[in-house]
């Protein structure tokens, strides 16, 4: 099962390596990890996408809570939530493919943010599934480079993660 863990950590040097180290030391999966400061500059927010059985994810949550720098851990997948990922894709866009590429980007609500006569750079946000679907819709040979941020997530409605 895929889980999205949202973690508030002290904005301390080393906090990221404590969390990342925990996953590698205990053999847990990380599909993606994002981290940046929050509105409170003393804290950072991480979103980690992981997979594992209920037992394993329960252990991951407990182990994360044990880290002294971790203020709070929530499994967003346990409630209603929104998840988004940002992707930048550089694609070949020359000759007859150029128009087709633009159309595909439009269908996925991608924005072309950089252009040369042979390429487009497309910005796309959405769920991981949507970004995957976009890549699948493209001709493999047309993709020059992809950069993805990994998932960020937030609870729906009034559900707020606070220290």
């Amino acid at each position: 099962m895929r889980h999205i863990l949202s973690i508030l950590v002290e904005n301390e040097a080393g906090a990221l390596s404590r969390v990342a180290g925990l996953f590698s030391a205990r053999g847990y999966n990380i599909e993606s990890l994002t981290v940046a400061p929050t509105e409170d500059a003393t804290m950072s927010r991480m979103t980690i996408v992981t997979t594992g059985s209920e037992e394993i994810v329960e252990q991951i949550t407990k182990q994360l809570n044990k880290l002294v720098d971790v203020v709070k851990v929530v499994d967003l997948s346990e409630g209603r939530h929104i998840e988004r990922e940002l992707m930048l894709v550089k694609v070949r866009a020359a000759g007859k493919d150029r128009e087709e590429m633009k159309r595909t980007a439009d269908i996925f609500r991608g924005r072309i943010i950089d252009v040369t006569d042979k390429s487009y750079t497309i910005e796309l946000t959405g769920t991981t599934d949507k970004l995957d679907a976009f890549l699948e819709a493209l001709d493999k040979g047309a993709i020059l480079e992809t950069v993805r941020t990994g998932v960020s997530g937030i609870g729906r409605g009034e559900w707020v993660l606070k220290a």
Binding site: V9, S17, G21, Q59, K62, V68, V70, V71
Partner: protein
């Protein structure tokens, strides 16, 4: 980390970082710092030199410093403190830190670091201390501002000693130890990201009580958490109140007196038949400060599948210990002492009693397992049996010594045959299984309890891993007694090779052993060699009578003896090999 700044931060004396570090230790009531100097800690050593409150014990290798501080902590319950220099000082200390971490021992480790401006430049004796130690500490800090030093050390002691205890490291760059700041030691620190649960959930405790009272085949399984949490009195009271069988893990020995008839011995890989069978076959299991690890229950699938209806109550201060390897029915997160106190009060207040008839039948079943007499050995042997030495050690010290051990067969025999009556008397490395701990552990214990008998049960391989500390014992007059069960083999390795590797004894024979008697003498101690069973008791009596001397008893034991019972790795608890099976 949020902290309430002390209101008087602007007042207080102006001190150097080094002086602040030492003053913090003295404010914490630290008696001993175990350490070894070097470039990065010279200011701290200078500050130590200028005061008298905190006594420094100069070891001969940083590993020894960590183990000695750890042994002190295990015996006293107070945090052990060690001080080492940057680079090689730290890397030498890592084994000791990891050893303490695996057994949840409270320690504060102060390390020197290269000056802040040199960090990251591959400076002389630089290593990424915080990075290297991160996976084997409860927490660690790099202090970059001298104004943060006192509060960081306070946090270190707070974190090390609360919740599930553990080692905390404070890395101090040399320039920080030289700079000055106003000294103010806060009484308390508050960390918003750290607040261990202490009080168990009342509803869960009630559920636990009901399960226990309804049990037909109950079992109480007590681990090191009960020793660390000072709960042995409560454990003993509960066991007696209910008249339930009780087993201890290697780390939990002494949490109930071994002489109590309800104590069925240690469980696990080298546990007794009665403990392992009761554990496997009980219908209600109460686990107290224990973690169902691989050396205790063996294969968790076998443990669960062999008895799927077994109900488990688990009390632990660390939620991550609960349902980690074995699914638990009633988890109770809290201080074991407080939870047990509540549980006992509830049982006493109620009218219900355990089912006497069922309990009698259960005890009768246990008696048949006990009748196997699984720890029996050849008492008539003309060669010294290691078990016999431990029995004699128990007799000579009236069962009241502090016993440290190293790792191997001798450790298991000490655990099986020295019948511990009190907690914190049995000092050994359970989690990491670190050879070399025995002698430095004994030093830490002897410093804490100079009047007590302290024995280190060791093997000829293990003792050579920290043998240099014999010199420290000479310097500080630490008259501990070393009981070297000398079988000329890494016995535990040899046993596995005999059982599982077709008797191919690859590199487990201890060739070229030193003359331990002469070695002890060279360090200024007394050495004795014992070769006949009839001489064991006399030698032990003589050694303990030499109150002010360290005695190294080199006892030549049976090379072929094995530790029984044995649950082979990956097997279930009831799949024991007994001596009589071979």
């Amino acid at each position: 980390m949020e902290l309430k700044l002390p209101p008087l931060a602007e007042t207080g004396e102006t001190l150097t970082g080094a002086e602040i570090a030492i003053r913090c230790l003295s404010e914490e009531g630290v008696e001993f710092v175990f350490g070894y100097p070097g470039g990065a800690v010279l200011f701290i050593y200078d500050a130590l030199f200028k005061q008298k409150k905190v006594k420094h014990i100069l070891v001969r290798h940083e590993q020894g410093a960590l183990h000695a501080a750890d042994g002190y902590a295990r015996a006293t319950g107070r945090p052990g403190v060690a001080l080492v220099t940057s680079g090689p000082g730290v890397t030498n200390a890592v084994t000791g830190i990891a050893t303490a971490y695996m057994d949840s021992i409270p320690m504060v480790v102060i390390t020197g670091q290269v000056p802040t401006r040199a960090i990251g430049e591959d400076a002389f004796q630089e290593c990424d201390t915080v990075g290297i130690t991160r996976p084997c500490v409860k927490h660690n800090f790099l202090v970059k501002d001298v104004n943060e030093l006192a509060v960081t050390i306070k946090k270190a002691f707070h974190i090390a000693t609360t919740g599930r205890p553990g080692p905390v490291l404070v890395d101090i760059p040399k320039d920080v130890s030289q700079q000055t700041a106003r000294f103010h030691y806060p009484d308390k620190v508050h960390l918003r990201s750290y607040s261990p649960v202490v009080k168990g959930h009342g509803g869960q405790i009630k559920k636990a009580m009901q399960l226990l009272l309804d049990a037909k085949r109950p079992m109480i399984y007590v681990g090191g958490g009960a020793v660390l949490g000072e709960a042995s009195q409560e454990v003993t009271e509960l066991v007696r109140l209910l008249d339930f069988p009780c087993t201890n893990t290697l780390m939990g020995l002494g949490s109930i007196p071994a002489s109590d008839k309800r104590f069925v011995g240690m469980l696990g890989m080298h546990g007794t038949v009665e403990a392992n069978m009761a554990m496997q076959n009980c219908d209600v299991l109460l686990a107290v400060g224990a973690r169902f690890d691989d050396r205790v229950i063996g294969n968790p699938a076998h443990f669960a599948a062999g008895n799927p209806s077994r109900k488990i109550v688990h009390i632990d201060v660390d939620p991550s210990s609960i349902s980690k390897r074995v699914r638990v029915d009633v988890p109770i997160v809290g201080h074991v002492k407080d939870v047990l106190t509540e549980l006992i009060a509830l049982i006493k207040a109620g009218k219900e009693k355990p089912d006497a008839a069922a309990l009698a039948a259960w005890w009768a079943q246990i008696a048949t397992w006990r009748a196997k007499d699984c720890l029996k050995y050849d008492r008539a042997s003309p060669i010294i049996k290691p078990q016999f030495v431990i029995e004699k050690l128990w007799e000579v010290t009236k069962g009241d010594a502090y016993v440290t051990s190293d790792v191997g067969q001798h450790q298991m025999w000490a655990a099986q045959f020295y019948r511990f009556e009190k907690p914190r008397r049995w000092i050994n490395s359970g989690g990491l299984g670190t050879m070399g701990v025995g002698l430095p552990y004994a030093m830490g214990v002897k410093l804490a309890f100079p009047e007590a008998d302290v024995a280190c049960v060791t093997g000829e391989a293990s003792i050579q891993m920290c043998i240099q500390e014999l010199s420290t014992c000479k310097q500080y007059h630490l008259p501990v007694k070393l009981v070297n069960l000398n079988n000329r083999y890494m016995g535990m390795v040899r046993q596995w090779q005999e059982f599982f590797h077709g008797n191919r004894y690859a590199e487990s024979y201890m060739d070229a052993l030193p003359d331990f008697v002469k070695l002890a003498e060279a360090y200024g101690h007394v050495g004795m060699k014992v070769e006949k069973p009839g001489d064991v008791e006399g030698a032990l009596r003589e050694a303990f009578a030499l109150k002010d001397r360290l005695v190294f008893l080199d006892i030549i034991t049976d090379q072929t003896e094995n530790v029984f019972p044995m649950v082979p790795g990956g097997k279930g608890m009831s799949e024991m090999i007994l001596a009589e099976d071979l």
